[in-house]
Structures are given as C-alpha cells and as structure tokens.
Amino acid sequence: MGVLLDIEDLHRVYHVGTEDVHALAGVSLRIQEGEYVAIMGPSGSGKSTIMNIIGCLDTPTSGRYRLKDREVSSLGDDELARVRNEEIGFVFQTFNLLARADALHNVELPLIYAGVPPAERRRRAEEALASVGLADRMKHKPNELSGGQRQRVAVARALVNRPSLLLADEPTGNLDTRTGDEIMALFGTINAAGKSVIVVTHEEDVAARSRRIVRLRDGKIESDLVTESRAAVAGAR
C-alpha cells in the first residue's frame, strides 16, 4: 500500500475584516492507502478547513499537500475540479442531492463531468446504486426517499467514479441513530474492500468506527492515535 496523502506544515489563514484568523497553523499528516481515519475536534478547531483542503475544494495559504504523489496545493480551479472528480468521493451531512433529479441521475453526475458516454454512465450508476442496496429505488426523487436512503444515494454517487478517497463530513449528522449505524456499517464494508475513508465528525461513536483518530484543536493536531481494531470495538459494545 502506498501513501494516499501527505500533508506538510499546512497553514490556512482567513482574512476576517482587518484580522487574520489562522484556521490551520502548521498541520502535518500522512495517510496510507486503505486507511480509515476519523478527524475530530470542537468547532473552530480547523477540521472543516482541513476537510476542504483534503477534498481539493480549497487551497492552503502555505504548506504542501501531495495527493497520490501529486502536488495539488497550487493547482488552478479547473485542475482541482478534475482532481475532485477523479480522486475524491464526497458524502455530506445534508446529502446534497439535486432535488429535481432522480437517484440514478444524481449518481450519474460525476460521470457526466468525467465525460463518460451515456450508456456506460447509466450502467455504472445502476451498479453503484445496486451496491448500496437501492436497485429498486433508481427512479425515485430525493423527496421520495428516506434519510438513510438519501445518504446511500450520496454514497453511491461518491463511489461511482472509483475515487481514491471517500471523504465524509458528519455523514450521520442528519440521521437517527439506527440509520446512522447502517451508514457507518456501509462505510466499514467500503473500507474493508480497500477504499481509503476519511470521516470528519464530532461524534465519538462515529469516530470509534475508524481505525485512527486525528484530533485537532486551534488549528493544530492535538493527538493522532491508532485505535483498537474495529472488531475489538464492536466486541466491546
């Protein structure tokens, strides 16, 4: 297994009025391919900022960020879009599905931007939906689906273009406990199949599913611990 991402002395400064806010003040982090990492921290700790940078939605003020041996910290907008399309699969707290489009079309979106021809993208989207257990919900619009189903559509969308990394931001924040557990179980299965997973969360329960917890505070890494194996966690319950 190679290195998935390598972050070195990352700084991100926001200008708020006349003040400079150091959202990230020198973060270094290396994550191997196939890891399952939780990033935790109270609000204002910088966890959203680092998620945006890892997800190539934002670029750092200084420092280096190598994703799969490629320096991405200084890429332009369109190049970052391409990296997001090919390497990152996003899962958001509020699902962020397109309300007017059915499940199938939502899952097809990354493939449309990847330039995959219609027949193939349809086939791959159907496959992805089937793999999250929604083979019978493809023509349903988001408002015809339950919260858990919506999040599974989002997971299918995140995985459909075979990214290197599944990046989730509070994926259970809008779900009840049982449905949240189902989604986290799905993440476990995905990771077990070899996909790197990073979950940004403030819920200990969710973080406990991972095998490594990185805690941030005031823009710096407070702790970076490898937890017991997932099996052990499950057994302890």
Partner: protein, 407 residues
C-alpha cells in the same frame, strides 16, 4: 467540455418547468418583441406580393400619361392642374405615331347613379374610352361583345358592364339588349366584362364602360383624358415611353428646355412608393421590437441571476463532483438560451396567428415566410446568449466552499 448539451438542455427544461409562471413572465418581453416582428414582416411581405402581383397583372409594360402624373406633393399637384388638358386628339396622335409598336387608349371618367327599372347603384364609375382600350386593359368579355371601333366612332349609346354592376342590376336576368340609365342618358347593354376581383378591398368590377364620345353627351364639359400605352414588345417599354414623351411634347407645343406639361406614371413608380411606405413601417416596428427584446433580455438576465442565487448550493455540489467553470457556464448559458428560445417560439406562433387572422378578416393579405421565422428564432437566441453570459459567468466563478455552505 465534459458536460454535454443534452445534459444542459435537460437541466434547463427542468428549471423552466419548476417555475412555470416565473418563466412565462420572464419571457413576456421576448414574446412581444418576436410576435411584433413576425406579424409585421408577414403582413408587409404579404402586401408586397399582393401589390406587385396586382400591379404586374395590370401589365408591367403599361404606362399612363395624364396632366399630373405620379405626384404626392399638394403644391405640385395644384401647379400641374393648371396645365392644358390632355385631349383625345393628342391620344390619337400618339397612337398614329407609335403605329404597331404599341397599343394606345384614351379614357376619361365620371361618377353617376346607374339605374335599371327599380334597381339603382350610386357613384358608379362611368369610363369613356377610345382606342385600343381592350388590349391595354386586358379586358375580357364574359357575355355579349366588347365595345367596337364603330361604337366609338359613331358615339353610340352602348355600354359594357363591369361584372358587379351586371350582377346587381340584373340578378338572374340576361342584361344583353336592355337599357340602363346613367345620369340623364340611356345606354344599351352590349356586353358584360369578366370579373377582375378587388384591389385592397376595392372592387375593380364596379364600372360602366361607354364610348368616349358618349361620355361627352353625359357630362357638360370636355374632361382631360388619361392616355394608357402598352408596349407591344415588353423589351421596348423604355423606348416606347421615350417616343411617347417626344410626340406629346411636339403636339402640346412644349419648347425645348421647358419641362413636360404632362406626367407619365409607371407601375414601378407605384411599387416604389409602396416600398417606401412599408420600409418606414418596418423601421418603426423593428425599433419597437428592439426595445421589447432589450427589456426582455434584461428581465431574462434578472431571472437568471435569481436562479443562480437560488441554486448556489447546487452549483457547489456540481463543483464538488467535478464540474469545471466551463461546465457551469455552459449549463446556465444553455438555460438562458432555452428560456429565450421558448419565448421566441411562442412569439413566432403568436405572430403567425395574428398575421393569418388579420389576413382572414381583412383585405390585407399575409404571407408567412421562413425568413421571418428564422429571424424571430435567431433574435431570441441571441438575446439569450447576450443576456445570459453575465449570470452564467457569476455562477461559474462561485467558490465551491462558499457555495456548499450557502443556505
């Protein structure tokens, strides 16, 4: 560009359907602009065809000579009325001089009440004719016979009726041989002319044709005649006109260097006037349409800006999933164009309907042309592109992090 047009148009139609009323209101300006252009172009073109058809049907190689000529200016008309009258003798001189090169008729007119038994018609045109009137006017006879040279020479009180006069005075009766009264004179009907139809709603069949000499008995003065000349060889039209002018200058004693004391009117002169008139109407309507389209475009731009704001989050999601600036730009540009094209299509349909409706209920004819439809569609597409660029560029420039956070 990764995103294809099909995807963009699909999104555009979804967005249109989602906000039907707003879309319709947005399109009002474009609809009005395109409707105006299509309706006016259709009507003006229809009238152009009609006018040139009818004028050419009268013979493109016919011209008329009278005291005034083709003149629109009131002062000049008043001046021209002081010229000496044209006479039937001068018409004869022209006819003799031109010989076989042309057919020449003389005609003078009067309006009189026409009666047969109890039936009356008011203000019927009485045409007193001489010369080659049948050939110059392309007159065809339905029943009976045309006026003959001998009728004209002997100033006989005989008449050929226009078809409308015949139909009204003699419903179901054979008019041949019967006597009608025109003014204070009686004329024996010898023939009925074939129907010619109407020109701009005015019937061309409401007349009574009598020999020129007979007209003189009816009216108490000698009217100025108008001379109609038809070139036997259409190719020598100009030459015949030049010769006619030269002959008339001699017989009417116009000294060299002096202007003509008569006027020549050609079908082209009528057409030219007509085209001038329609060109003015055109410019006015194009101006109105341009303003409507400008306003329509600004409204479209406003709606698109609202749409971009409303869908900030969607833009963020699309960017997170890999949409590049160009993809987002294209999506919103296509949406603006689809929006304005729908307006254009409605405008084209409305414009054609209006033109056809006007054509059906009024004597104004309408001609729907592909050019007009193409123009309407093209204009609305241009409006969409022009006014869609700015909102689309705003959408494309959105920062993905901010857009995703937008509530």
């Amino acid at each position: 560009m990764a995103i294809d047009f099909q995807e963009s148009t699909g999104i555009a139609f979804q967005a249109l359907r989602a906000n039907k009323l707003r879309s319709l209101l947005t399109l009002l300006g474009t609809i009005i602009g395109v409707t105006a252009v299509i309706a006016v172009i259709s009507l003006v073109q229809g009238m152009n065809h009609y006018v040139s058809d009818r004028l050419l049907a009268q013979g493109s190689n016919v011209f008329w000579v009278d005291k005034i000529g083709f003149e629109m200016d009131n002062d000049k008309i008043r001046e021209a009325l002081k010229r000496p009258d044209l006479t039937v003798v001068e018409a004869e001189a022209v006819r003799d001089a031109l010989g076989r090169k042309a057919y020449v008729k003389a005609e003078a007119g009067d309006n009189e009440e026409v009666k047969y038994l109890q039936k009356k018609m008011h203000r019927i045109q009485i045409k007193g004719v001489a010369g080659d009137f049948q050939l110059v006017d392309d007159q065809e006879i339905e029943i009976g016979r045309p006026l003959a040279d001998v009728d004209v020479q002997r100033r006989r009180s005989v008449a050929v009726l226009g078809s409308e006069v015949a139909d009204e005075l003699f419903p179901g009766i054979d008019p041949l041989g019967r006597s009608i009264q025109a003014g204070n004179r009686r004329f024996q009907v010898v023939g009925v002319a074939k129907r010619k139809g109407s020109f701009f709603g005015e019937s061309q069949d409401r007349y009574v044709q009598i020999p020129y000499g007979a007209l003189l008995k009816l009216v108490s003065y000698t009217p100025s005649v108008s001379i109609g000349v038809k070139s036997a060889d259409a190719g020598k039209f100009e030459q015949v006109m030049d010769e006619t002018r030269a002959i008339l200058r001699v017989v009417r004693h116009v000294r060299p260097g002096q202007p003509d004391n008569f006027g020549i009117t050609t079908p082209e002169a009528f057409l030219g006037l007509w085209r001038n008139f329609t060109a003015t109407a055109f410019i006015v309507v194009i101006g109105v349409a341009a303003i409507s389209l400008l306003v329509g475009g600004i409204v479209i731009m406003n709606t698109m800006l609202v749409s971009v704001t409303e869908r900030t989050r969607e833009i963020g999601v699309r960017k997170a999933l890999g949409a590049r600036r160009g993809d987002i730009m294209l999506q919103f540009l296509v949406e603006a164009v689809v929006l304005s094209l729908v307006g254009g299509a409605i405008g084209v349909a409305l414009g054609i309907s209006i033109a056809l409706l006007v054509g059906a209920v009024s004597p104004l004819p309408a001609a729907v042309s592909g050019v007009a439809v193409g123009l309407g569609v093209g204009m609305s597409a241009l409006v969409g592109v022009f006014f869609g660029v700015y909102p689309a560029a705003r959408a494309a420039k959105l920062d993905p992090v901010d857009a995703l956070r937008y509530e």
